[in-house]
Subunit: 399 residues, 2 copies
Amino acid sequence: MRPSLRLLALLCSLPLAALTLPAAEPLPGVPAVTNAPGAAYPRLLPDNRVVFRVKAPEAQRVQFRIYQTFDAVKDAEGFWTVTTEPQVPGFHYYWLVIDGVAVNDPASETFYGTGKQTSGLEIPEPGNDGAYYQPQDVPHGEVRERWYHSKVTQAPRRFFVYTPPGYDQNRDMRYPVLYLQHGGGEDERAWPIQGRVAQIMDNLIAAGQAKPMLIVMERGYALKPGDAEVPFNPGANANLTPAEMQARSIARSATFEQVMLQDVIPLVDATYRTLPDRDHRAIAGFSMGGGQAFMIGLRNPGLFASIGGLSGTGGTIADPATYYGGIFADVAAFNARTKLLFLGHGGAEPERMMTGFHSFHARLTELGITHAYYVSEGTGHVWLTERRNLREFSTRLFR
Amino acid sequence: MRPSLRLLALLCSLPLAALTLPAAEPLPGVPAVTNAPGAAYPRLLPDNRVVFRVKAPEAQRVQFRIYQTFDAVKDAEGFWTVTTEPQVPGFHYYWLVIDGVAVNDPASETFYGTGKQTSGLEIPEPGNDGAYYQPQDVPHGEVRERWYHSKVTQAPRRFFVYTPPGYDQNRDMRYPVLYLQHGGGEDERAWPIQGRVAQIMDNLIAAGQAKPMLIVMERGYALKPGDAEVPFNPGANANLTPAEMQARSIARSATFEQVMLQDVIPLVDATYRTLPDRDHRAIAGFSMGGGQAFMIGLRNPGLFASIGGLSGTGGTIADPATYYGGIFADVAAFNARTKLLFLGHGGAEPERMMTGFHSFHARLTELGITHAYYVSEGTGHVWLTERRNLREFSTRLFR
């Protein structure tokens, strides 16, 4: 049947984006890949400035916030537009402020961070630098969502687990396991989404640069019935002694540690084809999750032979005789039984954090504790740093 | 070590929510489970009225929109608050309008729907009515995210696949497959998240009410290089003849159909332990996805023996001799080779949709086409209807 002319006109309708924009000259730059489908803004200019736009004819004041605040200017049609300074490549949280209220940009996909769903902006790296976290035509693993009933919190919880390419086919192969935690204000979705775990691991494994491994991503918060929440507030630590700070870290994550030890690790070892020994078990995390990795890894050396601090440290090592139960009291023994201790961070993180990374690295060095150290040049406390940290950590892991 | 008093004060800090609220009398109702962590609003009252609140001291006008618009009232501290009419239980999209701009409620989790991330509100059903879509302490399957390179679109795509409890352990068991599509403005994340696929299937399988099956959830949009988008706009169909409407449906989803036939089904049958024959393969979908299920299912009867329209139909069956290639021309043959044709919808969907469901159901009946028919009393074009539809469809499927 030949379609009628009327139908042809319908079939040939322009894409939605074209219908909502002035037809005239082409817009500068390109829409970000993190935009909502069909959204023409935010747009990325070739020098990594970003053009934000929102229609708000009745608003008195519109700002976009991406690390700093940019005041938008209103045009006759009620569109508020602003062009930022050049931004560093990678993934950034941002938001919109309409008449003083911080809300998400309706034109963007959202990502769980800053304690809630938040707009995000992905700025490509130059050339092929970001190819390792893009989906490529290589064998793909899976990210699996698994619910379970926690004996510790007496409530349903879930984790995500990356299984490498061939996991289902290689039916007798067993795999090492990395437990990988998100940062403060984020949750178990952060590594699969913002962190691009599956893309990074698929690509590294295809290139022979990382060993096939399972990566378990849990929610770094846990309260038992009756537990009072200990807020995550690094600023409140400023006046604490190292011992007080460590006690506070332990208190804040004690229930999460129990979830890991009593629920997650037994469930993972019972459910997946793991190599269930310390040499083939690692724990790492971003920022707050790095602190948790050192806390749980150093307090349970019989479980973990490898620890990764990804823009996160084990805090101040004042007296090795008391630090996490004296784990560093015998450095030779610690070095002998530890397969990998890794610290990585961005070269442009906030000053307070840089001080923490540098002093932790210096103190490990001073004590003679063998560790790998990596700096991601030019990047801040952001997910591009963590994608690189995961690449650097995972390619050294389980060797 | 005994913690110092200063540390104790820190450890005993109140939960964040308590710090941001007036301490006085307890708030009425309870926070919704769909709230951002710690957010005290939206609150659900016992009669299912909802109290929305946002702080916006500088705004001139604040509204909350959940099917209808509710004007909020500002207090002296700059909080805008409104209490809605009683809402129907289940999951609802909603949003906030600040000075005329529709944005998400910063206090809510977001869900991909309405063509972008949108605030969502889950209102519990009375008693145990909603237990079948809650996580229970039963054996759990997984929802797996799988990326692949599409030969059709020449770009990376992904789907989600639910694998039932025991899939990894029962290493020689093979499973039937349901291909299950989302509605217009939603994407492949809708069934796993809003639709609670894993919870529903885990519970039904544990109760012996559904057969263990795989459920593949793809993205119902696909463009080949050079394809022009055919907008999904049911309103634009009003003046089309049935033949034009069918041609338009086919044009809009033709590339998606190719993705299903050339990419997804071969990949699923090659990757998972499926029963790769028509008797063990079904296709269903919600709304737009229901239309796609009838289109793809009826055009490819050699592939699918079962079809489900979940608040979605196969359109107007004017002349059975030409409808989808004459698939209903020989009703006896169709009935003989079809294992399950299912139509389910809410009892309170919008009038235009109700007309469509009733006339499709009546026409199938008139033509003598065997089909199961289910009405979810009191629910609209919403995810509670679809959770029930999935329950009703899946418990009849692969029998």
